[in-house]
Symmetry: C2
Subunit: 721 residues, 2 copies
């Protein structure tokens, strides 16, 4: 007995020593994301452990089943605080992992898998040979992998796993991240370090981080990744870079993730030495066809091309007086033999400035409805301008029923204070997805447009501009990880609740304690309204500093392209503020279905959220609250600052639930956010007061500095440009 | 008893679970550098543990003593695999950590500390109150900190600590890293990710990595860091960036590390709005004085300015027809009241190309000897050109006895294959330090010039251009860490053995096993000769590709500045190869002291290493080996490739001593190095054969491709430019 104590004590000593030695690396530095797999509270462990006695997998598992099993071992081993064995026969409490074809024991159960499609999964508590077991299955290995992550999520979030009957199938076919990563490792609009793609050392060196990236994405159902910036260097299509992309594709393949590339439309000129990139030129088409063949030789399951054409200086078919559909279809023809697709962006606006930028994508693309090849999807940003804290949904949604429309949202916070502002974007994404286009009567939500249900499209897509970089915590802050997570979960099911997703994420990332989860999720849900209030309340938009988009600059009106100027958007003058998009103005409202157009056009129904987006109103306009517009505007700015202070207070109270490193980081970032929210408020009020010439409402504190002070601030070396 | 077993078992379970869960982060990813503190082999632990029973420190320790104690706890706890307690009284086996003034028990021993200076340390086994203890002391807290790291190094390398009497004092006063980090986080000549300075989130966010950086530097005695690129943005001197630098200075201060900044000589114009930066203009001097005052308000122990002036397009006093000394002395006057220094770089060359670049720094600076203010040090690169795989020492060393000369070496591998080539630079650094200038007779080594001994200077400096970036392993490969380590150790003692340093490093970084240490150190020592052989054998230099300096480009002769062209350096033509720097040529040899000049000028004594550096010779010249020069050149290239293959074989045999992640990475990088060594050989031979028109020596394999193939290779998006 004493001997046994001594042996145990020795083990304790050794293990503790290992822990000690590993302590710097093992600190909660955010690298593990929501896949931390820390030991669960004892009660939850005790309940789950009997149903995770061992993993039973096919004897010769595919690479995908292999990673599913490895993840379950790692996850359950960590969560249940003991090694998770792999067995070859199903004992009591076993977890059977595979398709029916791979595991006869599952086939014998005749489970209802027909509705799961290619990627769905089923988790089912069942009896095999008289033994209670858990089934993780699907029609494909990747479905099984998603099921494995779903089972882990159940355990991680403290849900019971003893009576499982959980089937899920993704509603959207292509769920992808768009990396705006340049080939020199800079990241356009990246605020989390440099690109995680170490292009220079690819294809030789495979950073273990690539595997962890794939794990994280697979855990939330992401199945595609565009490796490079939409402002694409032609060099991505050189043999050197195709080989690098192929190495990444090989790493991602077991995780069900396909690789896509952004391409430069002028590549036939820049790389091929042709005199033109005219999509109707046979040599151009042949060049692209040969290039596609070359890519598929290296990457047999290559996903396809993402194209930014005739937009912000990028080349495109318009350079040859061809339409977007002519350009897209030429590329689509090159990819079609290989089952690849073209993702064509609808983000275009002209340089004239006499029109309304919010109308331009619709004006250009709506007439092309029905002209795109079958393997083209048109990728539309959530709002008609550009990833603002709040925009109404793009009028293209619902307006092009013959064309598969994909949704593009921005996970990186270009216009939202960069990495240090805590803004939970699940709420923003859901606002767009839930918006009713009325394209086919009430209930024609954006979600139904983009998942293909409304117009019966097989091809469906949701893309998020990634917030991922080389920072140890991946996203520039731990809370930014929630936006990656929420994006993936909403891409899987666009009707899901962003709050429920936040709850999942908070539990997995920090703590299951209800004392933590409730307040933290409340804070996250509040955060999106806070940023709208302190940056662009009441439907204002695009008030950010030139180029870097950091901080307030409502006064800027001297940029060469009218639509780059904040003043173009706020239209503040002595008479009032706001952009008249009713029929007395640009009539952008007319691009929406009539019930929506009517709601937005009518001051009685437009609501505060979109008021100044659609209307230019006098400073003294009476709001529903009976305040003047001026007073309400000031109050909203101040409210935004107060809401950040509330977030700070919430977080302070969470200290006891959070490890010191992550607690300190979020605390520091919230302090930055509060300081910058105050700056946004003060600078905006200083500017608008110079137009309104009205006194501040009673009790409101004047800006800390003069308008000239704010105008003079400069931020050289800002990230992400 | 059973209860106790159960409790122990529960602890084991919990601790193992923590270990399990932490496993991804705790993998040997290189982040821990040489401070891994993994448990030592049992025998060594058993021998050391009785002499590390507890740490005794002053009751109210200074921040520096605080970090010394924390490091000892962390280090000894890890190495000895059990917690290291802190005690308030010295029991048997205690380690007493402090200055005599702080710990009366140490004062009572009357130890011989007078020779240790400000930064030296003494480790001494002693008896206090009849108890055997270990003393870690010095005349200052930072000396004690260095002693703590020295004690840890003893334990880490398996040296006994029971009969310690080890005193050490740094020979060089300023031992610094120069970061060529830009304010947008790009790093000039950086191959390890982006800058570790997260400028944007400073001063608010203090990445824990800053502290680990300070720990690593303090562990090898580095006491200064230049935060920004010598090609300096004026913005570094704005209040925003001074505040960021101050935040870093606050973090580094307890570790004995001072912050320095690179400054742009035109800052008074760019920032101050002055019309001139003429150093003799009183307004300019006043601007710098006010700026220095402003900096010292934020950073009371600010180190000073590093200046690259009138070099490669940078502004400088020459723009106003003033001398380097006039420029440096003006800045020195601004810093002198605060005891700051000016580090003025001697790296200059003109654009004419009719001269010899190797002579230019000497020609420009030698006449200024004696004209520099007391607080100026002239920073001279190791060789007369620019950080080549091999150069003779700069003729400035020994030529300016009235001026403190600092040595600048490059730790980052700009001209050495970037991060993936394994090249141990300790051998290169030592070659320079050991070189005899004969300035004051035999034994006037570069080491004695730069440590101030030869010419009795108080101010002495050695600077290494850092190879540190945001990569998880800091340096772009685990073996690159050895170059940071060796730099610091040689800066502390320029007469130290680079092999002995490699042994230390290999033991701490990988394994104490003699089966590992011997072959690995042999491989490291060989590696520097290998790179010379496959890149620039026999005294060739500067044969790298344009701008990025990656790969061979001996054919390039069309760059606008003559001295940028590889052909300028190799001078290969039908008659022969090499740069005649004897009196029949540029007579650069005359810049050296007569015995050195004579040796280099004479074909009988110059030796193979510097043969073509100093001599232009016919292809058929007979080498000492009786081969022709052409045959010898080809053999050297081939030997370089073979040596890399030998390194690969060595490393393969080390697999059992190394964790899988680090083993795999070095294996991959060695494969890249071998492929690129072959490319260097083949491309170089293809080019030189096009000049020599001679057949390859018997048994030599022709280049794999045509010269045209090698000439056509392009490497867009290469790092570090």
């Amino acid at each position: 007995m004493i001997e046994r104590i001594a042996r145990l004590a020795a083990i304790v000593t050794i293990v503790m020593a290992l822990g000690l030695a590993a302590s710097p690396a093992a600190a909660e530095d955010g690298y593990a994301l929501w896949l931390r797999y820390q030991p669960l509270p004892q009660g939850i462990r005790a309940a789950a452990a009997p149903h995770a006695a061992a993993i039973v997998a096919p004897a010769a598992p595919s690479p995908t089943i292999g990673v599913a099993v490895a993840e379950l071992q790692r996850g359950l081993g960590g969560l249940l605080a003991r090694p998770e064995p792999v067995a070859h026969t199903a004992g009591v409490g076993a977890i059977l992992v595979g398709t029916p074809a791979e595991l006869p024991a599952i086939a014998a159960l005749h489970l209802p898998l027909s509705g799961l499609g290619d990627e769905g999964y089923l988790l089912r508590s069942a009896t095999v040979d008289g033994k209670a077991v858990t089934i993780v299955t699907g029609n494909s290995d990747v479905g099984v992998l998603y099921g494995a992550f779903a089972l882990l999520r159940q355990v991680q979030t403290g849900a019971p796993i003893d009576r499982l009957d959980l089937a899920s199938t993704p509603k959207v076919r292509i769920r992808m991240l768009d990396h705006w990563d340049n080939l020199d490792r800079t990241v356009e609009r990246g605020y989390a370090g440099e690109s995680i793609w170490d292009w220079w050392r690819l294809p030789d060196w495979h950073d273990p981080r690539y595997t962890d990236y794939a794990r994280a994405n697979a855990s939330i159902g992401i199945n595609g990744t565009v490796l490079n910036n939409v402002n694409a260097s032609p060099d991505i299509l050189t043999p050197r870079f195709i080989a690098k992309a192929a190495a990444l594709a090989d790493i991602f393949r077991p995780y069900g993730i396909k690789v896509y590339l952004s391409v430069n439309f002028a590549s036939p000129i820049k790389l091929g030495g042709l005199k033109t990139a005219d999509p109707l030129d046979p040599q151009v088409a042949a060049w692209w066809k040969a290039k596609a063949d070359e890519i598929y030789k290296a990457i047999p399951d290559f996903g396809g091309f993402l194209v930014k054409a005739n937009s912000e200086g990028q080349p495109g078919p318009g350079d040859y007086h061809r339409s977007h559909s002519q350009g897209a279809n030429m590329l689509a023809a090159a990819l079609a033999p290989h089952h690849g697709i073209v993702i064509w962006r609808a983000f275009v606006y002209t340089a004239t400035g006499d029109g309304d930028r919010a109308k331009e994508a619709y004006d250009e693309f709506k007439p092309l409805d029905g002209q795109f090849a079958d393997n083209v999807v048109l990728q539309v940003k959530n709002g008609p301008i550009d990833f603002q804290p709040r925009e109404p949904f793009s009028p293209l949604f619902g307006a092009m029923p013959k064309t598969p429309l994909g949704l593009e949202v921005q996970i990186t916070k270009e216009y939202l204070g960069f990495a240090t502002h805590l803004v939970y974007l699940g709420a923003l994404f859901q606002e767009t997805l839930d918006a009713d286009t009325y394209a086919d009567g009430p209930g024609s939500t954006v979600a139904k447009v983009i998942d293909g249900e409304l117009d019966h499209h097989q091809l469906s897509l949701i893309a998020g501009v990634a917030n991922i970089g080389s920072d140890r915590d991946w996203c520039g802050s731990d809370f930014n990880q929630a936006n990656w997570y929420a994006f993936g979960r909403l891409a899987w099911d666009p009707t899901a609740s962003s709050r429920a997703i936040a709850v999942e994420w908070a539990k997995m990332t920090f703590s299951l304690d209800p004392g933590f989860v409730g307040p933290t999720v409340d804070m996250m849900m509040l955060s999106r309204e806070a940023v709208v209030n302190y940056m662009t309340p009441l439907g204002l938009a695009h008030q950010m500093g030139t180029n870097h988009h950091y901080g307030p600059a409502p006064w800027v009106d001297n940029l060469p392209q009218a639509e780059w100027n904040p003043a173009y958007y706020n239209r503040a003058d002595a008479t009032g503020i706001g952009f008249d998009r009713t029929k007395t103005g640009s009539n952008a409202v007319a691009q929406y279905a009539p019930p929506v157009a009517k709601r937005f056009a009518d001051l009685a129904t437009v609501g505060d959220k979109y008021l100044l987006w659609f209307h230019h109103l006098p400073w003294t306009y009476r709001m529903a609250s009976d305040e003047t517009l001026w007073d309400s505007l000031v109050h909203h700015y101040t409210l935004g600052v107060t809401q950040v202070a509330d977030m700070q207070n919430t977080w302070t109270a969470m200290q006891r639930y959070v490890d010191p490193e992550r607690y300190a980081k979020a605390t520091t970032f919230l302090a930055i956010q509060h300081r910058e929210a105050q700056w946004w408020r003060d600078a905006s009020i200083a500017y608008f007061q110079s137009k309104s010439h009205l006194p501040l409402p009673a009790g409101e504190v004047p800006p800390a500095h003069s308008l000239a002070y704010y105008e003079a601030l400069r931020f050289p070396h800002a990230p992400g440009i």
